[in-house]
Amino acid sequence: MSDIRLMKGNEAVAHAAVRCGCDGYFGYPITPQSEVLETLMELRPWESTGMVVLQAESEIGAINMIYGAACTGKMVMTSSSSPGISLMGEGFSYIAGAELPCVVVNVARGGPGLGTIQPGQSDYFLATKAGGHGDFNMIVLAPNSVQEMYNFVFDAFELAFKYRNPVMILSDGVIGQMMERVELSEPLPRRTDGQIVEQMRSWAVTGKPVGAQRNIVTSVQLDPIVQENVNHRLQAKYKVIREKEVRYEAIGCEDADHILVAYGCSARISHKAMELARDAGHKVGLFRPVTLFPFPYEQLDSVCKRAKGFLSVELSAGQMIEDVRLAVGCRARVEHFGRMGGVIHSPNEVWQALQEKLLNR
């Protein structure tokens, strides 16, 4: 029997964690994502599935707890919002460098600095290009509904373990806070310690069996040639991810002359703007990257092959637009529209911007 409920995106993340068999959550309160930790504390999964939930002393504490627990082959996740995500950067780099699986949810708000507690999409660069120091990439999924907030936790863990890589769910204050219908799936059991040893002993620290080879999880290689080889291995992995894991949604793009490119809450708003444009007789499509890393470069170009103009709609000064430009090159006009600082653009504003920047030029 299906279990359908009305809840916030943040609450859906907490329910997904418990139902996907997650072993541990470590987090620190910050608006607009605190409901993840609060809901988990209410659900008390340590009494049902045995999942550990701990309020850490800081985001630095939380991400390093994640690092430690991930080293043992367990399914672990954290969530935060923009300023807290900045603090986790060093941890992301260590986790990526040591090739560990974990899931991080960023319910982004406007910045820079302490910024605002209202929604933002100005962490695109952070998530996709510069999560921390060194050459590394996180896989980045961008949900645009409460159902996707729930589903993507499952998807993120699958990807995290498939590639032994951190996966970020890049959401925003709109998707985290809004309430929608969500269908919850049947709970999956947590892996047993025996299963973890069986499946993950090749790399995880689970206590060295007597006489066996010890496992070391580390990201330091003092010999530059060895470190370069680590880098080559990581790059080879990212290449496979780019080839195999691209996800996107294209609505009315095939015959469109103009395309709105948007993810997360801006995709929802742009969908309405697209309808306004179509009502006015313009062939406008919506292209929504679902994975921001890997970005659907080729797909954006090929699916929208007829389009002569692209508007990147984001709650930022224009970050994703750089990838849109890389995707379509010089063959079409690429413009940006977005409010900032926690102000959310309306469908009408997007429709106006589309006319000013592309249709009426």
């Binding site: 072993d23 541990g24 470590f26 550990v52 701990l54 850490a56 002393e57 800081s58 630095i60 504490g61 939380a62 390093n64 707890m65 994640i66 690092y67 430690g68 627990a69 991930a70 080293c71 043992t72 367990k74 672990v76 060093e90 941890g91 260590y94 040591a98 310690d193 620290v205 689970t206 206590g207 060295k208 069996p209 007597v210 010890r214 496992n215 070391i216 999880v217 580390t218 990201s219 330091v220």
Partner: protein, 243 residues
Amino acid sequence: MAEELVYKKPRLLTDKDFHFCPGCSHGTIHKVIAEVIDQMGMENSSIGITPVGCSVLAYNYIDIDWVQAAHGRACAVATGIKRLNPSKLVFTYQGDGDLAAIGTGETIHAANRGDNIVVIYVNNAVYGMTGGQMAPTTLLGMKTVTTPNGRDAKLHGYPFKVGEMISQLEGVCYFTRQSVHTAAGVRRARKALRRAFELSMEGRGLSFVEFVGTCSSGWKMSAVEANKWLDENMLPFYPLSAE
């Protein structure tokens, strides 16, 4: 004539040569850890966390599972491991820059939560790895490369007795301060470490085992001079625990 065996390399020490400077305490402390884990039969259930500092490569020398942590974050890493793997013996190994400067927050909060981990803290009063800079533990008047005229309290504050502070917290079940610069000290250290490991496995809270150690290179002394300096200058300020 039958030979009498007076020294044997602990079974859990690997054959890899130590990278430590002659006269450094780290090697001896590693040996004590290897011995105690072996004595307790914990080889297959121990997980150690190395810091950033001269002991970052401890995993090359002690034959158990290891995790290498970011600078100062070992206690948070240990919390993550232990909370999800309560049957394992989880311990950190940290220098005084790692633990008492950049990692103070993580350390205090793990202690205050009473996480069942063992913190092995090596206080050599300087940053060894980066070339002998001042640490929070540097004694007043002590010369380092960042206090060339000696540590001045007006400029740099006071040497930090982090162990005494941590020992005040409810979550801490054991605090001891040891040294390994004498044979008697090594024997006492072994006992203290074993006690800490046992308390941790009994779920009694966080155990904090401080070692007052030498950094012959950072102090710019020979091994013999460093031991003497430790006796005469470090121990009066950082007194060892009674047995």
